[in-house]
Symmetry: C2
Subunit: 252 residues, 2 copies
């Protein structure tokens, strides 16, 4: 797993373009199209501060597996993710992990706000789950746009509100639901996302999603297998009865 820090991002940016060279703007036509597509709310903002923030944004490219944020070292810029997925998770002392949420193109990386507003230690990690390509807006530019543009403020507050909802749901889930129900739900969701009855995932990865251990996940999966709901193979899971998987979720 490789790491990237602000200095490296800064160097990367220095190498790939010059802020003062308008002909070599960060946002080429193709990038602008991607931005419009990913962040339709932001594409319509007609504001000098916003145009400036985008023009002087850093390009951030990082390969899959890169740790983008670690514990108490917050990000110093506000990322607009153009392609890829970032997984935000929290580790336990004993080596377990739970996935808090994912950032996809169109989402605001809310952790960025922490550096601007409080700098509290979230103890949260972020990693590039795929190769990622993003624009990084400086804290100063972010603040300027926030001051100037009502659309941008609405986008930010709406994103924060949505994330609070997600976290509250996750609390309800971890506090009240049994692990077997949560696991059945997760497999079902992954199957629907991939539009396939074969889900490519390891037991360890399932454990990391749910804040559990590989051993506990394996034990429940074997139980599902004995009940002919799924069939286990190395690196993937076949759903034998979507109906039974559904019943399992409803029965609890």
């Amino acid at each position: 797993m490789s790491h990237i820090n602000d200095l490296q991002i800064s160097q990367l940016q220095e190498n790939t373009h010059s802020k003062s060279d308008n002909n070599n703007s960060v946002l080429q036509m193709i990038e602008r199209a991607v931005l419009v597509n990913s962040y339709p709310e932001l594409a319509n903002i007609n504001d000098v501060a916003w145009a400036n923030a985008i023009r002087t944004a850093r390009q951030i490219k990082a390969p899959r597996g890169t740790t983008l944020m670690r514990g108490n070292a917050p990000m110093q810029q506000f990322m607009l993710l153009l392609t890829g997925t970032i997984r935000v998770y929290t580790p336990s002392k004993s080596g377990r992990e739970i996935t808090l949420y994912r950032v996809n193109p169109g989402d605001l990386c809310i952790l960025s706000l922490n550096s601007l507003y409080q700098n509290r230690n979230y103890g949260v990690f972020a990693e590039a789950e795929t190769d990622i390509y993003a624009l990084g807006i400086s804290a100063q530019d972010f603040q300027s746009v926030l001051n100037e543009s009502e659309e941008f403020r609405n986008f930010v507050l709406s994103a924060l509100n949505a994330r609070l909802c997600d976290l509250m749901c996750l609390i309800q889930d971890t506090a009240f639901e049994n692990l077997d129900l949560r696991l059945a739900r997760l497999i079902d969701r992954l199957s629907k996302q991939g539009e396939s009855l074969r889900v490519d995932i390891t037991h360890q990865a399932l454990a990391r999603e749910l804040g559990s251990t590989r051993e506990m996940i394996s034990r429940i999966l074997k139980e599902f297998e004995q009940r002919k709901i799924i069939k286990l193979s190395r690196g993937f899971i076949d759903i034998l009865s979507a109906e039974s998987l559904k019943q399992l979720q409803d029965s609890k």
Copy 2:
């Protein structure tokens, strides 16, 4: 447990003052002093929109035990809590509860934002844990101040950021920590808050804090009692050894 809704709040306000009567303003001298004391960041805002929002704010008074918000019926105003405490919690289908956080004077009631920004169903409840007295700012006035005042924006975003931190910590707690450790921590915290080795709380109330059942809490408390860490009585708990309670938290 009594309930209050927007209509009732509105009637309450109509009865207690008239918006047009400046001599009978919502904010008497004493109330202004309380506001300044509770929300020092907001007291310094020198802005027409803010002055207007405060002048036309509703008074909200509700007795202990009032349900202020229930599930998918969001609040329609932004509350500045002057006195009292609001407990925000989420119930499970099986009748358990977990306390998400508390709103104290000086805190922003972030759930209010939901009505303005997304109206998603949080499934969250709020109840007055004590008698409360608050000012309710209309969604429209809130939006105006947000547009006009950078200090207010910073306060709101900072409050949201802090709440995100709290929720992430709660997820770490529920996903990774054993119930006995969480219970020991809670008793310790309540003791420190009340500055007493006697904690006035029922087993049921402890269960509601931690998303557990009364039976599970009672079992662990008895275990603590057998180990001479606490002594149980009806409606309160005496800490016999603060040292052992501390060790219990460190040992895990």
